[in-house]
């Protein structure tokens, strides 16, 4: 509810600008607002100023603002029913990642009162283009896809249907494709991972204090999907979170080379446990690793959502991306006929980066309070995840690093991302770019 209100306020701000130009004009179509600068319009290369956060800071100032808000709300109510939203998912609810996305799709659309179509189990091939084109045939004005491999096929559809908005989560090419109707999105999930790491560090400290193992034996295991930036950024931020609490911790990572393979993920978790890992986390989408941990009695820090029902004794906490603010922003702006930015990046502040409830059964005492403290630090900027003072690469502090931000198929790093003692993650594009192997993390063969 609060988020919906915040978005309505963001829209008010935009519509106030419109009101000056033409009072009677109802914006429709993607080009209608292109002549006016709106809070959501941003140059392709810059990070999007999060409109939701901007609006939240404003609050109601006086009665006329409230009246405008009511007018904006009425205007939005008039255009929203014209919007139909399509969604393309790689898997269905059995995948934790897709379930998180599907739940957000339903919540966002039902909250806004717009009609929507869900297409599940769409592979990362021509099927994705077919699904997108069929959604256009069904009258959708805005189409979301949730998987990295959908990107090229979404771009193919975006070229063919310029009047429909295509929003792709986790992709990297929107800011270089420069199509007016193709957009990427991601969230600063590395901050959520860092927080999850803090909870894991506290658990390790508790077990060390209880004499279960020595500080030197504080080995963390991580089941990753693919060895690329999204996953590497995730486990590195998690590990930095762990080490901010438990400095002696080290981590072993293994990759399954699949986003969803329950048997493989379970096997990977069991291998890590046999190698002496005292706590497991994962970035792969099945219940394989969490259930392996529950069976072995090893604490687990999850991703994409709570796994407490299946793992009541070992689940500590999970970080997740709440896609609702993203979808609401995109849908509302499409309804209002405003140009959408090339990249949208969710943050802790705008509610896109979340932690689930802490399972006090398994978590160390005081975890909830500590997480609140660190979260406040991350939001204020006092705590920086990729602080170059917090990690070394090959024994040295990192003072310069070029990342392949512009994904042109050349695999050539071109953008300097170390600035003021920090790796600038998700600044030049929404998708993560941190792909460095830091000291303390060992990649083992899967």
């Amino acid at each position: 509810m609060k988020k919906t209100l915040a978005i309505l306020l963001a829209l008010l701000l935009a519509l106030a600008l419109f009101a000056g130009c033409a009072k009677t004009e109802t914006p429709s179509g993607s080009g209608a607002g292109s002549g006016t600068t709106t809070p959501t319009e941003a140059p392709a290369d810059a990070q999007v100023p999060a409109p939701v956060a901007a609006a939240s800071d404003m609050e109601f100032e006086n009665d006329s603002a409230a009246a405008d808000a009511a007018a904006a709300k009425a205007e939005l109510a008039a255009v929203l029913p014209k919007v139909k939203v399509g969604f393309i998912f790689l898997h269905d609810e059995n995948s934790t990642y897709d379930k998180n996305f599907i739940d957000a799709a339903k919540e966002a659309c039902e909250g806004l009162g717009v009609s929507y179509i869900l297409r599940t189990n769409i592979p990362e091939g021509q099927e994705c283009y077919n699904a997108a084109a069929e959604l256009v045939d069904d009258g959708c004005n805005i189409i979301f896809a949730d998987s990295f491999g959908h990107e090229d096929f979404m771009i193919q559809a975006a070229r063919e249907f310029p009047n429909v908005q295509f929003c792709h989560a986790t992709g990297t090419k929107a800011h270089t494709e420069k199509l007016a109707n193709y957009h990427n999105a991601f969230a600063d999930i590395y901050e959520g991972r860092f927080l999850a790491g803090v909870a894991a560090g506290m658990k390790l400290n508790q077990l060390i204090d209880e004499g279960k193992f020595s500080a030197d034996e504080a080995l963390v295991g991580y089941v990753g999907a693919y060895p690329y930036a999204e996953v590497k950024s995730g486990y590195t931020s998690f590990f930095l979170g762990v080490r901010s609490i438990c400095p002696s911790a080290t981590m072993e990572v293994t990759f399954t080379n699949s986003w969803y393979d329950e048997a493989l993920e379970k096997e990977a978790a069991n291998t890590l446990i046999q190698r002496g890992c005292k706590l497991i986390s994962q970035h792969a989408d099945s219940m394989g690793a969490p259930t392996a941990c529950e069976t072995a009695g090893i604490p687990n820090v999850s991703y994409n959502g709570s796994t407490v029902d299946a793992c009541p004794n070992t689940f500590i906490v999970s970080s997740r991306i709440n896609w609702v603010p993203y979808m609401e922003t995109m849908i509302v702006n499409t309804a209002a006929g405003k140009r959408l930015a090339a990249d949208w990046t969710g943050t802790l502040a705008n509610g896109a980066v979340e932690l689930t409830d802490v399972n006090t059964q398994a978590a160390a005492p005081g975890t909830v309070e500590k997480l609140e403290e660190v979260k406040a630090g991350l939001i204020s900027g006092a705590v920086k995840v990729f602080d170059t003072g917090a990690f070394t690469v090959g024994g040295k502090t990192l003072d310069s690093y070029a990342a392949d931000i512009h994904d042109m198929g050349d695999f050539q790093p071109e953008t300097e991302v170390i600035k003021d003692g920090e790796f600038e993650e998700s600044v030049y594009r929404s998708a993560p770019a941190f792909d460095i192997d830091i000291d303390g993390i060992t990649i083992i063969d899967g």
Binding site: E124, Y228, K232
Partner: protein, 368 residues
């Protein structure tokens, strides 16, 4: 006839029955399948079964685009089915279609990837065609050699070759995508090198035409050529084949080469014609579905048009049900399973007669 004990019914093999009775049995099976599906739908979901059926039709015929997607799915599935059929007729259980398609697709993708900027499309496409056919043929020839020389179990061998092919594709995806995501993405998106031409503005038309020609060709090959006859004889009895002087090993190798080559073409059409990328899911289980298509059609290429239509139609319908009713895809698969169960079951009643106690006496009487 006075029997002290006679069973409630007994089963006997039918000699032969007129075509209209066998088709009446099949039609009855489909009607029965629809009724059971309706019942299951109502019990499990509470949804109106009539609306579910309408939705299944919409999945394939709702729009022109959906119809073309159906044709594309039908064509590729039919192509793989045509590929496995000569081997099946020979009683060589090639369930390696999946891997043979994938390896054909991989060869196509490799040509596009490495040669895309080195030669014009006019030369590149013939190279892709040769490479995919060779790759598929070699993939099928390996188990055939082992079968012909050492009589290894071809079912297990071809099955295992699938996993080798999947791992090879996975390996090359990781080499070609240096980011580590394992996703190649569309190959040559700007130059379109190696992309098949689009005929009459319809992206899938070329695939449909190619498979139509292949269907007729395989039909003629199996039915009217010496090779086709040899395949039938080897399938009926290897000893007979040897006795009449057919070189069984040669037939096995030659037929599997053909089988693999056709699978390679399916991979070529998928990668060069539509997807323009490769992943471990490019074949999408068609290598296994094709086994069913071929069996249902009793290895007749013309009937396989119907059976592959049926399976493509049901799969598109499942997807439409999932979309319109918010049901999981598995529900569509359950309905597909029920329908296939009845269709396969109906073949039993075509081949065998069920005689109940009372009627059996009557029939015995009439024969006397």
């Amino acid at each position: 006839m006075n029997r002290t004990h006679s069973p409630l019914f007994h089963i006997s093999k039918r000699a032969s029955i007129p075509w209209y009775i066998s088709w009446a049995i099949r039609a009855a099976a489909i009607v029965a399948a629809m009724l059971v599906c309706a019942l299951v739908t109502m019990l499990l979901t509470g949804a109106d079964p009539i609306r579910i059926y309408v939705t299944i039709f919409q999945g394939s015929f709702g729009t022109v685009r959906k119809f073309w997607v159906l044709l594309q799915e039908l064509s590729i599935l039919l192509c793989v089915s045509l590929a496995v059929t000569p081997a099946f007729k020979m009683r060589f259980w090639n369930i390696g279609g999946e891997g043979q398609v994938l390896i054909g697709g991989l060869a196509t993708a490799a040509c596009m990837f490495y040669l895309g900027d080195k030669m014009p499309s006019g030369l590149l496409i013939p190279v892709m065609i040769v490479a995919s056919i060779l790759a598929g043929a070699i993939w099928a020839l390996i188990p055939a050699i082992f079968k012909a020389r050492w009589n290894t179990n071809e079912t297990l061998f071809t099955l295992m070759m699938n996993y080798v092919a999947i791992q090879l594709v996975s390996y090359f995806c990781n080499i070609w995508d240096r980011k580590g995501s394992g996703i190649v993405g569309i190959i040559n998106p700007n130059t379109r090198a190696g992309w098949f031409p689009v005929l009459a503005g319809r992206q899938y038309l070329l695939n449909v035409l190619v498979v139509a020609v292949l269907t007729v060709a395989v039909y003629i090959y199996l039915r009217y050529t010496k090779h086709g006859y040899e395949i039938s004889v080897v399938g009926e009895s290897e000893r007979t084949a040897r006795y009449v002087g057919i070189k069984v090993e040669k037939v096995i190798l030659r037929t599997m080469l053909l089988s693999g080559a056709l699978c390679g073409i399916a991979g070529l059409l998928l990668v060069g014609g539509t997807d323009h990328t490769i992943s471990t899911t490019t074949a999408g289980g068609r290598g296994f579905t094709a086994v069913m298509v071929s069996w249902l059609a009793k290895f007749d290429p013309i009937f396989m048009v119907l059976t592959s239509f049926l399976l493509a139609f049901l799969s598109r319908g499942s997807s439409q049900i999932a979309q319109n009713f918010g049901l999981n895809h598995s529900f569509g698969d359950i309905l597909t399973g029920i329908i296939l169960f009845f269709i396969i079951g109906s073949e039993f009643f075509i081949n065998y007669r069920l005689s109940f106690r009372a009627s059996s006496e009557k029939e015995d009487g009439s024969h006397a």
